[in-house]
């Protein structure tokens, strides 16, 4: 069965916080407001659309969605 994971590239992220605004279930911010995936980044099936929306709105192209 396929598992989707989101990952934020910490080097690319500049803290626009779009991922957190659009999919707070999948992303969180650190104390400086930079984004990171929650936990292991696993995306429950009902949240796949939100994951794709977050990726499509990151101005720094910092989010990847990995299919395992």
């Amino acid at each position: 069965m396929k598992v989707l994971r989101v990952r934020v590239d910490r080097e690319r992220c500049q803290g626009h916080a779009r991922c957190f605004a659009l999919a707070p279930e999948l992303f969180e911010l650190d104390q400086w407001g930079n984004g990171r995936e929650r936990g292991d980044g696993a995306v429950p099936a009902p949240l796949e659309q939100k994951a794709r929306l977050a990726q499509a709105n990151c101005p720094e192209l910092a989010i990847t969605i990995i299919e395992e």
Partner: protein, 398 residues
């Protein structure tokens, strides 16, 4: 001041002689940028002692990411090259940029900004209370310009009622000072003296505000000099005011002319998120600049050291190669990687604050004043230069 400026010869050709102070550019720059994107995507002018204007998203992005060839030590294209007056982190390059920005970031996270939302809402309600019941108003003067100034003044710890003084400095530094060196330097001196006094007062009597926070802050065990703090405070005050004032004004200007969007937004509050992003894309207020410090080439265009680059995030946001129907305002646009807050290390530190203020300003306005349109008997006027937004926005209400 404005009267002493000599009349400028109009730009003869946008690709070889552009002038972002030309009234045609201030009034409606979008067709000019569309033309440039097709004919000469990186324009140049001999005005301003030499400046480039990239009109495509990909070139704006490449320059924003390239801190080696493009320095932020000058971030405004002016007629001359005045002495460098640092306002970290916006004027900082690596490696100084990182600590200068890092110290500020915790105060501007979405969570930190949420604490200021009730204050912003109270300001909006108070202003609307004065407007409601009237048949016409100037939404730029009576509403948009008052909101960000009071919020940022409160955050910094300076009097909220001094908005008029702050706006005078902003006009002198960002508009008149583009061509009038004396006015620019005087405004800078006044601001430096103003904040020097505030910093000294805060050292004597501590207070829980951004001035107090910066005095005690350190990054990697290093505190910041008074000169550094002074520059940062001047940046926060200037950047915190006319940018969001412009954005709120542009949103209302759009909604005044598009009843469909206005009614839809009032009826579907969930649309506020994507709508604010779309307004930020389409009417991005802030154009930054860089100084070329090392010769390089982008998209076949040679960039010569000493020339400036007008780094137009607003033009990038209108590039059809990046945004389908770039000239259409689509308030439920799904994919929107706009660059209104910049790209790369200089991402606007106030982006979460600006978003909160715009969202609160629009939702409070629409809740009380759902029907409004441009007053056909009065003129909308726009700011000139670095930040674009309506400075007069005459509306008919009801």
């Amino acid at each position: 001041m404005g009267e002493s400026m000599s009349p400028r010869p109009p730009a003869s050709d946008w690709s070889t002689d552009f002038d972002h102070l030309d009234p045609r550019w201030s009034e409606n720059p979008y067709p000019i940028w569309d033309e440039l994107r097709q004919s000469c995507p990186i324009a140049h002018t001999d005005r301003f002692m030499g400046a480039y204007f990239p009109s495509r998203y990909e070139d704006v992005r490449a320059i924003a990411y390239d801190t080696e060839h493009f320095s932020s030590r000058r971030i405004i294209v002016r007629e001359t090259r005045p002495p460098l007056i640092p306002a970290p982190p916006i004027t900082s390059d690596p490696p100084e940029h990182r600590p200068a920005k890092q110290v500020l970031l915790p105060a501007f996270t979405p969570e930190a900004i949420e604490r200021h939302e009730p204050h912003a809402r109270a300001i909006c309600r108070e202003l609307i209370g004065r407007i409601a019941g009237k048949s016409r108003c100037d939404a730029a003067v009576e509403y948009a310009q008052e909101i960000p100034v009071r919020v940022i003044a409160h955050m910094l710890g300076v009097p909220e009622q001094e908005g008029e003084l702050f706006r005078k400095w902003i006009k002198e530094i960002l508009e008149i000072g583009i061509t009038d060196h004396e006015v620019l330097m005087r405004a800078q001196r006044e601001m430096i003296a103003y904040f020097a006094e505030k910093i000294a007062a805060r050292r004597a009597v501590p207070r829980d505000d951004l001035i107090g926070y910066l005095i005690n802050a350190s990054v990697d065990g290093r505190a910041f000099s008074d000169e550094h703090i002074n520059g940062t405070l001047r940046l926060l005050l200037i950047a915190g005011i006319d940018t969001t004032w412009s954005a709120i004004g542009s949103c209302l200007w759009h909604l005044a002319q598009h009843a469909d969007d206005r009614r839809r937004l009032a009826a579907e509050p969930d649309l506020m998120g994507p709508a604010v992003e779309e307004f930020l894309r389409a009417y991005a207020p802030v154009t930054m600049a860089r100084e070329v410090v090392k010769e390089t080439e982008i998209a076949g265009c040679a960039f010569k050291p000493g020339h400036m680059v007008l780094l137009s995030f607003p033009a990038a946001n209108r590039d059809p190669a990046m945004f389908p129907d770039a000239d259409q305002v689509i308030i439920d646009r799904k994919e929107n990687r706009h660059a209104a807050f910049g790209l790369g290390i200089h991402r606007c530190i106030g982006s979460n604050l600006a978003r909160m203020e715009i969202r609160v300003a629009l939702s409070e306005w629409l809740a009380r004043l759902p029907e409004f349109r441009l007053d056909p008997d009065a003129r909308v006027t726009w700011s000139v230069g670095t930040v674009r937004g309506p400075r007069a926005l005459p509306l008919l209400l009801g």
